[in-house]
């Protein structure tokens, strides 16, 4: 990897370097029916993985459902790859899943090194390893990824890892606990029936996985004793890495508004949460993304039978579901610190909180996004090309979006509306239509005090609407 040392020195004189790192691991076993992200299905462990096909994103124009974009042919095959299914074709010789993942991690480290030098990163406060299914890498590979970051981590640095229940073995759990990680377990629903509706492949029971993680001490305030845990973890612990206090936690991701889900099911879900007491809960509403397998089942065009069977909750029910979620989790002591994120006191996700406050962060890995010095950039979501570039000693292809002041102000508002953060009106000047404020304040959706604006809890339910109301009409900007 070419070390751009000169660039590093120059960098130090410009804006301060990002203190947060996001790593994107795009691999999954199979793609879930509802997934809208860049994901490379690898097939179930033990089977031949699929070749790396370029990603074709859902239609660019935002909206609930648009017509799917036609798939792009993947080199070296002539046939266009189906958009959202594993490609069961022969692989380039010599490749297999394990080697692929090894190469992937090596390339990640290479990209990190290059960016560290170029941006002059000296400290990292948070690291977030997301995907896809990062836990697919296995704890040893993740360790290889984290090792080079060690020297830069601050004492209370937070490291978050997304994991699927399938990948949670006792060894994994012990390692995660010893490592003082924040683990975000992809549950989606504790109800197997509802999970099946999503095409969620996870065969392992999420409760079991959760319990295993808890038992091993993931998220515990105090580090587990060195002699507890399985052999694999002991192997690791005997390593030289210094133990850090860290900012651990055990969180779960849930989705509501599922096909066939009723209000009582949401209550059941809350009951499980109450029993398990995760440190953190992310709970989103199911969105039907065009091109996804789920969309094919439920949208106009799908057969009437499959749509009826889909039974998506109507608007009223979904609203009530969410209201119960917010109040239910509130009663359990969770702080509603972002529209879809709830945390026990002291257990918020520091990485996401930093991003929501507009702090710069670096993103590495195919499809990863990062924002720094007013520019948002994204590694092109093409794992094969990304890998090829880094293995060839080059930087991977990236897309850049310049964010001018007005755009940044709008984003600030957009994020603040979701978190309830208090924002000085001066910071938003020119980007918002101040004439809309009185009505919103009158309706209790925003609170205006001392020259600051805060979206209330009531307003958070309709954060999008508040933003649309407040965004300045673009025609004024041109005038």
């Amino acid at each position: 990897m070419n070390a751009a040392a000169g660039a590093g020195r120059g960098r130090r004189n410009a804006a301060p370097a990002p203190r947060h790192l996001y790593v994107h691991v795009p691999f999954c076993a199979v793609r879930c029916d509802y997934c809208e992200f860049y994901s490379v299905p690898l097939g179930v462990a033990g089977e031949r993985p699929a070749p790396l096909a370029p990603f074709v994103p859902p239609a660019a124009s935002p909206g609930p459902v648009e017509s799917p974009t036609p798939p792009v042919a993947s080199a070296p095959h002539e046939r266009p790859a189906p958009l959202f299914a594993p490609v069961p074709d022969a692989l380039p010789p010599g490749d297999d899943r394990e080697a692929l993942l090894d190469r992937f991690v090596a390339a990640l480290v290479a990209e990190w090194e290059g960016e560290r030098i170029r941006l002059g990163i000296e400290r990292l406060e948070t690291v977030f390893v997301g995907g896809g299914t990062p836990s697919l890498l296995g704890w040893e590979r993740i360790e290889r990824l984290l090792e080079p970051l060690e020297p830069l981590l601050t004492p209370r640095a937070e490291i978050t890892l997304e994991a699927n229940p399938d990948d949670v073995s006792d060894t994994f759990a012990a390692w995660a606990a010893g490592r003082r990680l924040r683990v975000s377990l992809g549950v989606q629903s504790f109800d197997a029936r509802l999970r099946a509706e999503l095409g969620r492949r996870a065969l392992a029971d999420p409760e079991t996985a959760f319990a295993a993680l808890r038992r091993a001490g993931v998220g515990a305030a105090v580090a587990p004793a060195p002699d507890s845990g399985a052999r694999g973890a002991a192997t690791w612990r005997s390593g030289a890495a210094a133990r850090r206090p860290g900012a651990p936690g055990l969180g779960i991701d849930l989705i509501f508004g599922l096909p066939g889900q009723r209000l009582s099911d949401v209550e059941d879900e809350l009951a499980v949460v109450a029993r398990l007491r995760p440190d953190h809960v992310s709970w989103y509403e199911l969105g039907i993304v065009s091109g996804s397998a789920l969309a094919a089942r439920v949208m106009p065009g799908a057969s009437a039978a499959s749509r009826a069977a889909a039974e998506l909750p109507d608007d009223e029910t979904a609203s009530e579901m969410f209201r119960r979620i917010v109040t239910g989790l509130g009663r359990l002591g969770y702080e509603w610190y972002e529209v879809s994120n709830f945390a026990q006191p002291g257990r918020r996700c520091g990485h996401n909180s930093a991003i929501w406050r507009g702090h710069d962060y670096l993103g590495i890995g195919p499809g990863a996004v990062g924002t720094a010095a007013g520019v948002r950039r994204r590694d092109v979501p093409d794992a094969a090309a990304w890998l090829g570039a880094l293995e060839g000693g080059r930087e991977p292809a990236r897309e850049h979006e310049e964010l001018d002041d007005a755009t940044r102000a709008r984003e600030r508002l957009l994020l603040a509306a979701r978190t309830g953060e208090r924002v000085p009106l001066a910071d938003l000047a020119g980007a918002i239509d101040e004439g809309a404020l009185p009505a919103l304040a009158g309706a209790g959706l925003v609170s205006l005090t001392g020259g600051t604006l805060r979206v209330t809890r009531k307003g958070r339910y309709v954060a999008n609407g508040v933003c649309v109301r407040l965004f300045r009409d673009s025609s004024f900007l041109e005038a």
Binding site: Y22, H24, F37, S61, P62, G63, P64, G130, F256, S282, W283, Y284, E285, G287, D315, E316, A318, S319, F322, R323, E338, V339, S340, N352, I355, W356, Y361, G363, G367, A368, V369, G370, T371, R376, R378, E401, T407, R410, E411, L414, L415, R418, A439, L440, G442, A443, L445, Y461, V462, A463, N464, G465, V466, C467, V468, R469, F471, D473, S474, S475
Partner: protein, 605 residues
């Protein structure tokens, strides 16, 4: 061409009876247009006209016709509209002619505008040449139609011509009749020159094109002339005739019909009805102009985007160039901002103007519900004319309200008499009388408020009589009416653009229907929206649009921010087409919600 060989004639008829087809055939027959050039109904040059199959503007064409007597005559044909809304246009062009070919469709018989136009022609002292058309069709009933036309015009059976404009049968006879029966044009070639401006068209490069009929004397190119009405002195840049294309000539003589271009760009300076005279030897008296028509139907026109107000004004100015019947004046609405209150001859006129504005001038408009002009007599004795329901004075100040009435005549087959009676009964009408045009057809006369016609009377009449009935109406004065203002309130605030003036007896029903309709049209907002209908302080109906409870609860991590921001920006763009009334976002079509309800207040669906 000497006066003896000039014939100026018009073709008048009820809509779709075939006058334009006849005009086409005449042009073809006389070689004015080769068959290859012939586009169906050539004279309707506006796209809109062709689309709707109706004539809006009158057009004038000079035809050279070699008659059976061997002599060549100059025939000037003026095409006219056939809808009740455009009676004004008809009378203008008739003033330039000496005869009118009255075309009657033998499958339909005499209809309302047949009668109306025939009377107009008689008013203008024209010779009427009745022509029975569409004899090629199996449904043609010549005997019956002959009877009706005879009743109407007094023409003898020998004087009636039977033709098929479509096939061309008998068309030459029509031309012969025009030659034989049309009086030579009056006027004195030696007298000081006078030309009547009977129409005008604005050309963006050449300015105003005046359609003229030379009554006395003559005009030459480069001559200095004066507009007698405005006093303006201008030079004749070009003059000529329509052949049907504009064909420049060195002179236009007495009795001829054609055009004069003076280079004038200002609409107001070339007034229809004005007289042009030569500056060197001006005439003493102008030709009699036209009676000023009064607009009958009004609506508010507002640009969707406030900054397009100037464009709308310019467009209206240009439209008035060619449409003297269109009236407009600035209006301010609390709800809709700056716009115009426009007056039209009728609903079709309004529709056409609106479409022209949107299409030819590329404007996005909000139109309010059409209404008539009320005369509100206040307690202090003064009278306030109200063209916008929102301007209605407070109830306490009102002594009584008068509304315009019309004398309506409906011509229909006898089998529908009961249906039409029923329709009119529901419209606060007074039955006047009934006359048989023939054993099969009847003419019924009613007096009823114009306000009852304005919304959907015509459509209802047509649909209930399977299209066989026709309607003509004429303003017949103002009469007292028990009318009240129905206000619509959104979130407790009255929305002026939604106000209506309705008969008191129906106010509650209309109010409830309207409120329900609005509830359907107004989307859920971040606040609950109360929709109320009220008469004065009394609420007669109420509905609520529930508040939107939540957005889709989606994740928004680093990689999602750009996408989410763009989504919201796009939604903001989408809102531009809504009107903001207080805190409520109201879609444009909510303002026309009342049109989706019939006069009883029932949803037309």
């Amino acid at each position: 061409m000497d006066l003896d060989h000039i014939r100026n004639f018009s073709i008048i008829a009820h809509i779709d009876h075939g006058k334009s087809t006849l005009a086409d055939r005449i042009l073809e027959l006389t070689g004015s247009v080769t068959a290859r050039d012939m586009k169906e109904q050539l004279l309707d040059s506006m796209d809109l006209e062709r689309e709707r199959g109706i004539t809006i503007k009158a057009q004038a064409v000079r035809i050279d016709y070699k008659a059976r007597d061997g002599q060549t005559y100059q025939l000037n044909l003026i095409d006219t509209p056939g809808h009740v809304d455009f009676t004004y246009e008809v009378s203008r062009s008739l003033a330039a002619c000496e005869s009118a070919v009255l075309v009657v469709d033998t499958t339909q018989g005499v209809e309302a505008q047949t009668v109306a136009n025939a009377y107009l022609a008689l008013d203008n002292d024209l010779e009427i040449i009745p022509v029975l058309n569409k004899i090629d069709l199996p449904a043609s009933d010549v005997a019956e139609t002959e009877l009706e036309v005879h009743e109407l015009t007094g023409a003898t059976y020998e004087e009636l011509l039977t033709i098929s404009a479509k096939t061309g049968a008998g068309v030459e006879d029509v031309l012969e009749a025009v030659v034989a029966r049309t009086p030579r044009p009056g006027g004195d070639p030696q007298a000081p020159s006078r030309a009547l401006v009977f129409d005008s068209q604005y050309d963006q490069y050449r300015g105003v094109v005046a359609y003229v009929r030379v009554v006395d004397g003559s005009f030459a190119r480069h001559e200095m002339v004066q507009m007698m009405g405005t006093g303006q002195k201008v030079e004749v840049e070009e003059l000529g005739y329509f052949g049907p294309e504009m064909t420049a000539m060195p002179r236009l003589e007495t009795g001829e019909v054609g055009y004069i271009i003076t280079g004038v760009k200002e609409v107001a300076q070339v007034r229809v009805g004005d007289t042009i005279t030569a500056l060197k030897r001006p005439a003493e008296h102008a030709l009699p102009g036209y009676k000023v028509v009064h607009p009958m139907v009004f609506c508010g026109l507002f640009p969707t985007e406030g900054d397009k107000f100037g464009e709308l004004r310019d467009a209206l100015e240009k439209l008035t160039l060619n449409d003297a019947a269109l009236s407009w004046e600035p209006e301010t609405s609390q709800a809709l901002g700056f716009g115009f209150r426009c007056g039209f001859l009728g609903l079709l006129h309004m529709d056409i103007v609106r479409e022209r504005l949107e299409r030819e001038y590329d404007l996005e408009l909000i139109t309010t519900t059409p209404n008539v002009e009320y005369h509100v007599f206040q307690i202090d004795g003064s009278m306030v004319p109200v063209r916008n329901p929102a301007d209605m004075p407070d109830v306490q100040r009102i002594d009584h309200v008068e509304e315009p009435y019309v004398a309506a005549s409906v011509i229909l087959p006898t089998e529908f008499v009961g249906t039409v009676m029923e329709l009119c009964q529901g419209r606060r009408s007074d039955f006047v009388d009934m006359k048989y045009l023939s054993p099969e057809r009847v003419e019924m006369h009613y007096q009823l408020p114009l306000g009852e016609i304005v919304i959907d009377f015509f459509d209802q009449l047509k649909s209930r009589t399977r299209g066989y009935a026709s309607l003509d109406y004429e303003f017949s004065g103002y009469r007292n009416g028990d009318l009240v203002k129905l206000d619509i309130l959104l979130a407790g605030e009255p929305v002026d653009a939604l106000s209506l003036i309705v008969p008191r007896e129906r106010a509650a029903v209309r109010g409830r229907a309207l409120v329900e309709k609005l509830r359907q049209k107004i989307p859920r907002q971040m606040f609950e929206v109360a929709i109320q209908a009220a008469i004065g302080a009394r609420v007669v109906a109420r509905e609520t649009v529930k508040a939107h409870r939540k957005d889709v609860i989606a994740k928004c991590y680093g990689g999602d921010i750009s996408r989410k921001r763009k989504l919201l920006e796009k939604q903001k763009e989408g809102k531009k087409r809504m009107k903001q009334i207080g805190v409520i976002e109201v879609p444009q079509d909510a303002f026309l919600a009342v049109l989706e309800l019939d006069s009883e207040g029932k949803d037309k669906g």
